[in-house]
């Protein structure tokens, strides 16, 4: 068990001091970097990969911001451990399937994760809670500059940073936010939004869950183009699109309350009941129930600090987390569903009843 410290640590996402926002869960920026005159990971042989891993680990170890971070190599991790890292978005599914000579270094507060020998030699990721490109960019730029002093990156003045896949060429920057959009989902407006956003060269993905699309009404919105625009322009354009989506979500919620309050409140009320009393909850169902509770917090039915609990449960009720936290052999999914329901019951039973009166007051 190498990831126990990661599970127990206070993290940027779940323990930061200021309150979580109502629509934007988190902001991420990612830079891909490769070492010059060296084959990309998929082409490199075992000894080359081993050397790249060691060189990158050394360079990262010299970064101030990564001090006391966890250095993890894929070959030393169990499947549930890798699953937990995927569920925390600290590594990609692709890296979790990798057998050897690859790894990740995770900063102490888990706001920074640097994957080594994924598709590119380095995939640097910085996360900030809430809507905060400025903060995320400042940190990743410092890391990038720090690594640049130690490693010779593959760079062409014409095409920028060279990446294994030409879709990442140039800035090699992927900027994204995770949005909670229950209003747009309930109002069946997501398809319209996806269409409009795609036309701007921006991608929308449903995240989380197994099998259901966008369970929990959580979507990741990110830039798809990396060449021909500066880092600042990429973020500026994405921000413009995001501001519009956030506004549409707020409008959709307002309209739901005006036109379909009983329907929405009924959903939230039932979700609260299911979380307090359920005995079998799949992770997809839990995500959907928690999403309704988060909306309930936004409507003032539950105390503000419950938003943080919901965000934490979004992560800790995923299958890998349930399996590792419970320390049992929850090999089959039924046992995990029992355990998940138990954890949620324990928390939600301790809460005061939903305060539906606040809505009438407003």
């Amino acid at each position: 068990m190498q990831i126990r410290p990661i599970l127990e640590a206070e993290t940027e996402l779940t323990d930061r001091s200021h309150a979580p926002e109502s629509v934007v869960l988190s902001t991420r920026v990612r830079l891909a970097r490769n070492i010059d005159e060296t084959p990309f990971p998929s082409r490199a042989n075992k000894s080359q990969r081993r050397e790249i891993l060691a060189r990158c680990q050394d360079a990262i170890a010299g970064l101030k911001m990564m001090q006391k971070g966890s250095v993890l190599e894929m070959q030393n991790l169990s499947d549930p451990e890798k699953q937990v890292l995927v569920e925390r978005h600290l590594i990609s599914r692709e890296l979790s399937n990798d057998k050897g000579e690859s790894g990740v270094i995770v900063s102490r507060d888990q706001s920074c994760a640097i994957m080594i020998n994924e598709e590119d030699h380095l995939r640097i990721q910085v996360l900030r809670a809430g809507y905060n490109f400025k903060g995320a960019w400042k940190v990743i730029d410092r890391i990038d500059t720090g690594l640049e002093d130690k490693l010779d990156f593959a760079f062409s003045p014409e095409w920028g940073f060279l990446t294994a896949c030409p879709t990442n060429l140039g800035t090699a920057l992927r900027a994204s936010v995770m949005l909670h959009l229950p209003g747009l989902v309930m109002a069946s407006q997501m398809e319209k939004v996806v269409r409009a956003v795609n036309q701007m060269g921006i991608a929308v993905r449903g995240l989380y869950g197994e099998g259901t699309d966008a369970s929990g009404s959580i979507f990741q919105i990110s830039n798809q183009q990396t060449l021909g625009e500066s880092e600042q322009d990429i973020i500026k354009r994405l921000t413009g699109v995001l501001d519009t989506v956030i506004e549409q979500e707020q409008n959709a919620r307002q309209k739901l309350l005006e036109n379909a309050a009983p329907k929405v409140l009924d959903k939230i009320g039932r979700a609260f009941g299911a979380l307090q009393n359920g005995h079998l909850l799949s992770s997809a169902e839990a995500m959907n129930l928690l999403s309704l509770i988060r909306l309930g917090v936004d409507f003032g039915l539950l105390p503000e600090n419950e938003r943080r609990s919901v965000d934490k449960f979004f992560m800790t009720t995923q299958p890998g987390h349930i399996q590792i936290i419970s320390q049992g052999d929850l090999e089959n999914s039924d046992q995990r569903d029992v355990e998940r329901a138990r954890v949620l019951r324990e928390h939600f039973r301790g809460l005061a009843p939903l305060d539906f009166d606040t809505l009438e007051k407003t």
């Binding site: 990309f40 990156f153 003045p157 449903g206 966008a214 799949s282």
Partner: protein, 177 residues
């Protein structure tokens, strides 16, 4: 827990669920993390890399010329690129320049880099290459007993090594900040 849906491309469990417009229709797509960029579905126009290559100038070339056109550094061929959508090494970009140019047109907002330039790194690499070149010249001059040339190379080398040392000291100081 329901059985995870399979990836629409391979048969691994799907982890990415996309809703996207393809040919004016809303499609729900399920993929594992490995597949979307290869299928090109995460991209706004819904084009795929394979499709682009099939239509692009690279495709008009004969398969046989393709396979002989391989990267001198890593041995990668355009045939392999068409299969994976990825290159073998940074030098591949120079090797396959003619294939890449037109491909980037549909893929990105522009075809030339407009972002950050790692200037300190480029300076360092250039100085190091210059040092390597001078050392070789110095060796040659010594063997050929051109002592005046050798003295000049030695002076230039000394100066360059001093600047390089100064640079790395500066970067150490920056790292401490």
């Amino acid at each position: 827990m329901a059985k995870p849906q399979d990836c629409g491309n391979c048969k691994k469990p799907a982890t990415i669920h996309l809703t996207q417009i393809i040919n004016n229709q809303i499609k729900k797509l399920d993929f594992c993390d490995d597949c979307p960029h290869q299928k090109g579905v995460t991209d706004p126009e819904g084009f795929s890399l394979a499709e682009l290559l099939a239509n692009g100038p690279g495709a008009t070339e004969d398969q046989t010329t393709d396979s002989t056109n391989s990267c001198p550094s890593c041995g990668f061929t355009t045939v392999e690129f068409k299969k994976t959508g990825q290159f073998g090494c940074p030098e591949c970009y120079e090797t396959f320049r003619d294939t890449i140019g037109p491909m980037l047109e549909g893929m990105h907002r522009g075809q030339t880099h407009a972002g950050r330039v790692p200037q300190r790194m480029l300076t360092r690499v250039n100085r190091r290459r210059e040092i390597e070149r001078l050392s070789r010249s110095l060796d040659e001059a010594v063997t050929e007993e051109r002592f005046e040339d050798a003295a000049r190379y030695r002076d230039e080398l000394k100066q360059l090594n001093e600047t390089l040392a100064g640079d790395s000291k500066e970067s150490e100081e920056n790292a401490d900040k």
